[in-house]
Amino acid sequence: MSTVQPSPTVGYGSMRRKEDPRFVRGQGRYIDDLKLPGMLHGAVLRSPLAHARIISIDTAAAAAHPKVKAVITGADLAGLGLAWMPTMSQDTQAVLATDKVRFQGQEVAFVVAEDRYSARDALELIDVEYEELPVVIDARKALDADAPIIRDDKEGQTSNHIFDWEAGDSEETDRVFAAADVVVARDIIYPRCHPAPLETCGAVAQMDPVMGKLTLWTTTQAPHAHRTVYALVAGLPEHKIRIIPGDIGGGFGNKVPVYPGYVCAIVGSILTGKPVKWMEDRSENLLSTGFARDYIMHGEIAATSDGTITGLRVTTTADHGAFNATAQPTKYPAGFFHIFSGSYDLQAAHCKVTGVYTNKAPGGVAYRCSFRVTEAVYLVERMVDALALELKLDPAQLRLKNFIRPEQFPYQCKTGWTYDSGEYERAMRLAMEIAGYDDLRREQAEKRARGELMGIGIAFFTETVGAGPRKDMDILGLAMNDGADLRVHPTGKAVLGISAMSQGQGHETTFAQIVSEELGIPSADIEVVNGDTDRTPYGLGTYGSRSTPVSGAATALVARKVRERARLIAAGMLEASPDDLEWERGRWFVKGDPEQGSTIQEIAMAAHGAGDLPEGVEGMLEDTCVYNPPNLTFPFGAYICVVDIDPGTAKVVVRRFVAVDDCGVRINPMIVEGQIHGGLAEGVGIALMELIAFDEQGNCLGGSFMDYLIPTALEVPEWELGATVTPSPHHPIGAKGVGESPTVGSPPAIVNAIIDALHDSHGVDHIDMPCTPGRVWDAMQGRAEPPQ
């Protein structure tokens, strides 16, 4: 599958990545690799308590440390108007705490010193006196009358309530439920987990006092949006801010927000006149940066007795932590959770989500997810399996019976989405064929008879990705559109600037292939620039599987604009009317006379050359484009998982995992498959081991890689992939985006498999993630508890 391929020189297909020669030589350019003359090092003092009033902060001893250049507290920032910053969700977040600390690990002070060890030493010298306050850890109790109010900094905030949000028709849904033969309910938790990219977050800030220009090398998935935020927060002129992400060592949503450490590094550089590097350690990353999920859901599914699903409803408590820093489009405080009716043709659906503050780290980032699609898919796929158990139906057959049919697309779902295209049954049947579904069921029956625990789990997902149309969505008032700049040089080599920012997705390769496909220029002759805000067009960055759906579309369209310009120039060269020319990849030629033509390289030279151009045609061969998607795209897939559970230890082994993904047209199948592999492994992690838990005092119990477990090569199987291709009808190249599908689809497949293994023998009809041996064992003994 994804091993060595004959590399296409032009257009789509699996080809080696342009990025890899530097990575295999250790020449990636990550933030912590940067060393500037005179560079100082910053470190953040963090709160040991989850909720406490700050009585005093004494920084004298730290400031007296011989290698310390500056100590910054919230009071110092308040003097600059920088103690608070806006979040991506219309809330505010403390940069350095002034009044209270509201979660363990919150930023309290910032030290700048000559080297990283001294900066850490100096943190020990800062004396903070706290007055402890009662904490709110369980989101279910956040709205109790006696719950302490976390955000007393906000005027008019008299509880821990953030928002209520609904989608769908509740009356119609109630009517459908009242008429149903069967209603099945489940309490389902999608626990708090963390993207934990291997590279933590960090920045090097360099303020040039002479030119007044700030350069910020930083781990950001959204460099342009960050630039705008800094301009708004710090009042710096936006043209005097340059963001350079370099190579990012993994993001998965964790590197979307602006973190206090970045702002502190900037302030540190302004105050000292020197470049300041701030690089968090692993514990800081897990304790304080964007977590994911933390949805407590009550789901109900309604059906007829023969298994026609008629309705779905869910109420959710969403734990947003101490500041509402969820990254998502403004209009949708629960993200795209309202895709929760999934891949099924229902009569009615309704969801209600209530967001609350707790004394936990802020975030709610989309960990390899398009804005809560992961929670939505988990809910519906668990509910469908619960219904299958109730009706004693095969979960594959139940899904096949209820799928939206191909002829129903574009499909208007009951919560407001218009699904673009889908052939669900085809994907499902392919997954069953690859898995050998009937044989697996036979094997399972034999094993059951011997007392062995084997489970087969299915999940079928539909995602909504590629945000998004400017009429529907924005972040901080910024339209979620992306730009692309394409310049073809005289010799026919090209440079493409994009606003998406790669974190391993291989944009330098894939986006060159898009241009190559459209213009016929070999991919090797196309350089892709991403990240650096001085060199790339404006756009909102890479998350929510939006690179290919949005920036990919912008790239195809700008290449087509250049192709049209080339046509006019070719018409002059060939002394023909533009209408009489025909395109074949890489060349315009005269219709009916294929010998008479000009290659794109010849046209590029003519475009820059000394000779005359046709009347009204601008010289050079370049253009720009901004893409405003008319709709989101709706990738889908069918996943089948086989688990074995040790009856003595309750250890779950994922023996097989079959993933059939339909992400529309695939530009570089090798890269697509690599994305799927990686997301599946993260799904295994979420389902089996990843958890950010807290004790009753609000101490984080997942603050290191000793506690926050990530799968190694021994915990994941050899992936078995399949593909169907249903192009998106509105996307210029029919692509839909894929990066997040596997993380969305795999957890419910794994959990469904575990329940399938344990239901007959142990009566288990529900278990919450993560399915660690201890938690599975408890479920087998009939005493399963929620994880938090």
Binding site: G26, E199, G250, D281, G504, A524, G678, T712, V716
Partner: protein, 165 residues
């Protein structure tokens, strides 16, 4: 204190604090930033180097302890500019995405192949199980190491020329 090591065949020396971790010595003092750092607890393996030929998490050792020893980092893998088969394998099989765990994986793979030129899939998984890759789901890393096993030096000279597509 002055610490001298032989790194990638070259004798290098720097004046460091006694508490300096080997990983910081390599990155900050010797400027070999291909060796990465990803955790505080010796779990991730982004910092793996070869220490007298054996894989070592360089965050678990003080620079002072390493004095006088031989270290190979990723920068030392491509002898004379020619990629090691494990490096080529990672390119051929899409064995990396962000490239952050790659240097550590490459060095472990090299040590594995030195000891066992024809490892099974399970032996490869076992060998890299002290290291985390957050991107690839491991399958392609396993394939990349197999590729290196199957393309031992005699045959790699021709393939390295195709690097970089």
């Amino acid at each position: 204190m002055q610490v001298t090591v032989t790194i990638n065949g070259e004798e290098r020396s720097a004046d460091v604090e006694p508490r300096t971790l080997l990983v910081h010595f390599i990155r900050d003092d010797l400027d070999l930033t291909g060796t990465h750092w990803g955790c505080d607890t010796s779990n991730c393996g982004a910092c793996v180097v070869l220490f007298d030929g054996e894989p070592l998490k360089s965050c678990t050792m003080l620079a002072a302890t390493a004095a006088g020893h031989e270290i190979t980092t990723v920068e030392g893998l491509a002898a004379g500019g020619e990629l090691d088969p494990v490096q080529q394998g990672f390119i051929e099989c899409h064995g990396q995405q962000i490239g952050f765990c790659t240097p550590g994986m490459l060095l472990t793979a090299r040590a594995l192949l030195d000891a066992n030129p024809d490892p099974s899939e399970h032996e490869i998984r076992e060998a890299i199980s002290g290291q985390i890759c957050r991107c690839t789901g491991y399958s392609n890393i396993v394939k990349a190491v197999r590729w290196a096993a199957e393309n031992a030096p005699a045959t790699t000279t021709t393939t390295t020329t195709t690097t970089g597509a």
